[in-house]
Point group: C2
Chain length 397, copies 2
């Protein structure tokens, strides 16, 4: 039952809105904040003072006005060096760790190849330990520096409540306590928020990338598997336990090939990296480099590669049409190696979408590539970790 908030809740909500504004847009003048938040100037002043006293923002002369004559207009800036989160990405072939400051500023970054073979979560994340130690040491030299929380992206199905990985076929993981392993490494009592990488890449593109301002978005991510992150009416569709968006396991071909999930003819058996590489007569485990080689061969006129691209492009459009009929999105984004596949087979994708998609569902849909590149899921993990701060900027523990 929704009930109106108290005065204290209003103040908290206003503080959060102001802080989120400078987090997303960077330094803003009080006049900009007044206009964008719809609050009066004195309220903005009071909120800014509260946030500054808490060490979350600072006020100062904008860089471009320094040294000029006349009275400068002050801007409110996020305290990016002092207020930070840890963000992690555990992917099929690499692990990434980063310290990200308020405002989305990348402060420190570490990347390593994921150890080959099947290892447990603690072993996989162990190489991050050194990075964390160094960053702790760096941060402790900055007065007032504070860790807000941590977020992690993983190409797996994750229990939302505790970051427990239920199933990550591409990682060889079943029931791995990733959230716990990362928390132990950081030495922070607070849980690490862990989500599926496609869900977080979708969140990142929606917050800072290609889908800013779009309320209905289907984000597709391809590597060895195919995942999805859905935004509907401006909010992530994650389902009851956090396992929603598994579009790669929508069965599109009942007479199709066996899938790693145990089913047959899942979309990822037709559009995943293995499918394209096999159709092109290449080593099906050649990964991203293999995909780029097929795309390159097709562009140079190789018949086998072109036929493979057309076939996979048709299946890509086939699943996109299903999702367009279900979600009526404004935008579909092709991430991971699906970006390359889409760019090389856009005609097939669009043609199949036009044949299978209902006109009303597809008429305004834009097909796009990501703006945030390989680190989209990492950026999404950082955004996730900052969220509790915006919910309650002053009392956030």
């Amino acid at each position: 039952m929704r009930v109106g908030p108290s005065q204290e809740e209003i103040r908290r909500s206003n503080l959060g809105a102001l802080l989120r504004s400078v987090h997303l847009q960077g330094a803003m003048s009080r006049a900009d904040l007044t206009a964008s938040l719809g609050l009066n100037r004195s309220t903005i002043g009071a909120l800014t003072a509260d946030l500054a006293a808490a060490g979350l923002v600072s006020e100062g002369v904008p860089r471009e006005q320094r040294g000029r004559a006349g009275r400068p207009s002050l801007v409110v800036r996020p305290e990016s060096e002092k207020v930070y989160v840890y963000a992690f990405a555990v992917e099929v072939d690499r692990i990434v760790a980063a310290r990200v400051g308020l405002g989305g500023v990348l402060l420190d970054r570490f990347e390593a190849a994921r150890p080959r073979g099947e290892h447990d979560a603690a072993t996989v994340v162990a190489p991050i330990a050194d990075f964390i130690r160094k960053v702790h040491a760096t941060a402790s030299t900055v007065a007032g520096a504070r860790l807000i929380g941590s977020g992690a992206a993983v190409s797996a199905m994750v229990r939302r409540d505790d970051g427990f990985v239920r199933l990550g076929p591409q990682l060889g993981w079943v029931d791995q306590p990733l959230g716990e392993a990362l928390a132990a490494l950081i030495g922070d009592a607070r849980p690490v928020a862990v989500r599926n990488n496609a869900d977080l890449a979708a969140l990142a593109e929606h917050t800072r990338g290609a889908a800013v301002g779009c309320d209905n978005v289907v984000y597709l991510y391809g590597d060895a598997g195919v995942g999805g992150g859905i935004i509907a009416a401006g909010r992530p569709v994650t389902g009851h336990g956090g396992y929603g968006g598994e579009v790669g396991h929508m069965v599109v071909n009942p007479t199709g090939k066996p899938c790693s999930c145990g089913s047959h003819g899942c979309w990822e058996t037709e559009i995943g990296e293995h499918a394209l590489l096999a159709a092109a007569g290449r080593n099906p485990t050649a990964g991203r480099d293999g995909i780029l080689a097929v795309v390159d061969a097709a562009s140079r006129g190789d018949n086998t590669a072109q036929a493979a691209m057309r076939q996979v492009g048709d299946w890509l459009g086939f699943g996109v049409a299903n999702l367009v009929n279900i979600f009526n999105p404004e935008m579909v984004i092709f991430g991971g190696t699906l970006r390359e596949v889409y760019l090389a087979s856009a005609a097939q994708v669009r043609s199949r979408l036009n044949r299978n998609g209902l006109p009303a569902c597809r008429e305004h849909v834009r097909l796009r590539t990501p703006q945030l590149g390989q680190d989209a899921a990492l950026i999404g993990a950082a955004e996730l970790a900052f969220e509790p701060l915006f919910a309650d900027p002053l009392d956030h523990g």
Copy 2:
């Protein structure tokens, strides 16, 4: 940008919450309201007085306490006779109109067969005109009676903004101004809120039926076609233009039969009424009665009917598994003739769901039949029409 509300907005929100409570739960004591809304007793008293002054609720002795000794505890009741909406349902074989009072009380109801053949929207709704005239006359005898608004459900794809039907293959409609036709009939200057019938049946089951308290729900509705209404994180998934949820046009069989939408192998070509009737060797246009006859024959041991049920049940489970992987719902509800099909083939549905559905996505999902029966979409249309009242109970136009 979300910003905290003003005092006036808080009051409005509290008034809406109180009014919605008695709308959904019927007469409630002030003590119940205090507990359920988390507001103090004096606030509840003030809000109730405001709503009573506006003619939206009344206070009185509960029925069961009348005539008893001792001081009775007063209850707050919705003014169901005075505050009402019109709700309409345009279905394949019938049209229904109703006057529904605050609290969800059915005050008047009219039903007629939909005229056979292809007629425009104005012609199809014309038989409702007499009903509206009579209801206007009845309502005008009640002091303070007021029409809040109108909602309509239609088995078609509807443009959310103006209730324009883009495509209703089962009705033979392309580009029909249903919202406009109904508004002209009512003589109300306000637009009629029109939505897809499966979307509204989902809303009704979520608000008053099988899915109360479930935040992630897939509702399936079958007649000649197959539609879907999705609730994710407690809110309807309707997409950019209002056309989302067209799960009947998810292609499940690439080598399947042509569909009325122009594509091939859509889910509705495998699980719609025509598919079951054809598989059972019967007249494929026999409709609901035909479906019941096949179900009955199967239960009596008819081999052909049993084989048809198994085949359609398997396809039903096939599509359900896809949707479970995409939405990770708590509940899937089978409405329309899919209720009968599900009940007669639950073993096939569950077996296919277990084979194609990811364990994490399906582990908590309950498969259910509707609680609200044939009028679910009509009830949803009434709920839709009441919504603006809860957004602003005192200033609602």
